[in-house]
């Protein structure tokens, strides 16, 4: 599936424009990262893209068709959304939580059946969290819960996954696990991913394309290596950085080292 945003614009009710003329596109199996300082509207952009919020101007295209032309439940069969983890009131079991991802396929009075349970289990397997199945969501760690939320989105068998800061509040190891899972989902299952992140290094590691948002409605979109540069990071984040390539057993990797603001 190709997902494209053309001239996306969002404004608050008082008329203040948060961002405008935003264009980007992801092809099947690609990873797009969205970078930007706090408050430039990264989460809002994701919500507009998925129709959780309305564009003021502009349009989201799914395989060249406007998203509004699709039935709501059909949109959510194609797009899986992983919100920032805020916890839940009721501590369902992990399997029950992932089963909720089947909702786009089930009518008002329907119950998930054997096939839905199998798909939910497969989704847990994909993110490597099958061992959690019978645990309650209140008993597992933040990193595990993030995996469960990704599995829930996968259970709707989407072609594009949209994730809002999936690795933000996690420790070192769990951040790495999330990145690996996302790469696996994109490469093996050919599900494209759009990811909000606060970490330029993560973007360099996993993404094909990057959209960088800045203050005063500035933005730049392109291949990750062209967008994440020392110049752009200075311009958009107001931080002096060095991008340091290094050799990791034959593969050249890059890391971003902040120097001074």
């Amino acid at each position: 599936m190709r997902l494209e945003v053309k001239n996306g614009e969002f404004a608050y009710e008082n008329g203040k424009i948060l961002f405008d003329k935003v264009c980007f596109a992801v092809e099947k199996g690609e990873i797009l990262t969205i970078l930007g300082p706090n408050g430039v509207g990264k989460t809002t952009l994701l919500k507009c893209t998925t129709s959780l919020l309305r564009w003021k101007k502009g349009i989201t295209l799914i395989d060249h068709r406007p998203l509004e032309e699709l039935k709501t439940s059909d949109v959510w069969k194609k797009i899986g959304y992983v919100p920032q983890n805020r916890g839940t009131v009721f501590s369902y079991t992990v399997l029950d939580m992932v089963l909720l991802g089947r909702a786009p396929y089930l009518s008002l009075l329907a119950m998930p059946g054997k096939r839905d349970v199998k798909i939910a289990r497969d989704a847990l397997e994909t993110v490597g969290a099958a061992y959690l199945e019978e645990k309650r969501c209140s008993e597992i760690s933040g990193g595990e819960m993030q995996m469960v939320l990704i599995a829930r989105a996968l259970a709707s068998e989407p072609q594009t996954l949209i994730l809002d800061e999936p690795e933000s509040h996690l420790d070192f190891k769990n951040q790495l696990l999330i990145l690996e899972v996302l790469q696996k989902i994109a490469r093996e299952k050919e599900i494209s991913c759009i990811i909000n992140t606060h970490f330029p290094t993560h973007a360099l590691q996993i993404s094909d394309k990057t959209l960088m948002l800045g203050k005063d409605r500035r933005h730049v979109f392109g291949p990750t290596s062209k967008v994440i540069t020392e110049d752009n990071l200075k311009k958009y984040f107001d931080v002096n950085v060095k991008i340091v390539p290094f050799d990791n057993e034959g593969t050249i990797m890059k890391t971003v080292v902040p120097l001074a603001s």
Binding site: K47, W76, T88, L108, L109
Partner: protein, 346 residues
């Protein structure tokens, strides 16, 4: 692989056993209650009487036992069980819908509205039919008012709904006080006060004709939507991102619950406590999954109100109002459970 399948089988077995208990306990409670009362009927006789009415083979003479069981106890038991089940299941549904375990079916002002309708009915005529129709009418009206206050262009956020419900509830509660204030203190006022505290005394089949079908429809609707309530219990955007029409599903649950609560108030006054506490006891037993929680709440609610009503009609010569008993019996019991579990069940 083998271990997994064994485990799922075990769970299925437990589920089947649990379901059996959920059905059997209310049935046993129902039967015992038929025998129970100032006039004790031994179980054998009670069973025979019930059977001859269920499968009328030959016409029996009308004994005292028969009229006590068929005319006095049976309608009252049906009423108690249905109202208990209805309030408990709509409480469980509301707690899921609002994602808040402190919510009860009264939150949107339906009980205050229905209470006002009933008080008005008692004031102007005292006929059961008027009381019932006005109670149901004003209960529904209260929820419609709540809806109109809370409505916004893009749909209704939950906190708006709750606040609007509080406003509507306060308004109708004041109107109830106004009616009490103008009512004749010799006869009408005690009737209103006593009625609002909840009672099943004097329930007859004729009285059940309007309310019972409404409660049944409401219960069935909620039970059918019980998995959808799991989805609704997530926060609004998450639920939306799972491809469901959040606003429509939410209002369907609210409508079903309004049907139950206004009918319950129209039949036996405002019975508090059940809708708030029974769902918690349900979660303690079976966990928060509404697919299991809703039927469980139904069963526990039915048994609970049946027990309470049995106490109300047998403990003393004068009937004790239900609202007093539900809390006096229920509060210590719930306090004990809360202490024992530390509240770690939701």
């Amino acid at each position: 692989m083998q271990r997994t399948s064994l485990r799922t089988n075990d769970i299925k077995k437990i589920n089947k056993l649990g379901m059996l208990v959920l059905i059997l306990v209310p049935l046993i409670g129902f039967f015992i209650s038929l025998c129970l009362g100032r006039y004790w009927v031994d179980p054998g006789t009670a069973f025979n009487i019930l059977m001859t009415h269920l499968f009328p083979t030959d016409v029996l003479g009308t004994s005292i036992e028969e009229s006590v069981i068929m005319q006095i106890r049976l309608p009252r038991i049906i009423l108690a069980m249905l109202v208990g089940a209805g309030l408990a299941v709509s409480g469980a549904a509301f707690q899921g819908l609002f994602g808040n375990p402190l919510v009860s079916p009264h939150i949107l002002g339906v009980s205050a509205g229905a209470g006002f309708g009933a008080a008005l009915g008692i004031l102007i005529s005292g006929k059961v039919l008027y009381v019932q129709v006005l109670a149901i009418g004003f209960g529904t009206l209260a929820v419609i008012i709540t809806y109109m206050i809370s409505r916004q262009k893009t749909g209704t956020p939950l906190f708006m709904l709750v606040l609007s419900g509080v406003i509507t509830g306060a308004f109708f509660t004041a109107l109830i006080s106004l009616i009490k204030y103008v009512a004749d203190p010799e006869e009408v006022l005690p009737a209103i006060v006593y009625w609002l505290m909840g009672s099943m005394a004097g329930a007859s089949y004729d009285d059940l004709l309007i309310g019972v079908p409404m409660i049944l429809v409401g219960i069935i609707a909620l039970l059918l939507m019980r998995w959808r309530i799991n989805v609704l219990s997530l926060n609004e955007e998450e639920a939306q991102s799972l491809g469901i029409n959040v606003q429509r599903s939410r209002w369907l649950v609210i409508m079903a619950s309004t049907l139950i609560t206004s009918a319950a108030v129209s039949l036996c006054g405002i019975v508090g406590w059940i809708g708030l506490v029974i769902p918690h006891i349900g979660r303690m037993l079976v966990g928060p999954d509404h697919r299991i929680l809703l039927p469980t709440s139904c069963s526990i609610g039915a048994v609970y109100l049946l027990v309470i009503d049995n106490i109300a009609r047998t403990a003393t010569a004068a009937e004790i109002p239900l609202s007093i008993l539900t809390a006096i019996v229920g509060a210590p019991f719930f306090a004990y459970l809360l202490r024992k579990t530390g509240g770690k069940w939701s």
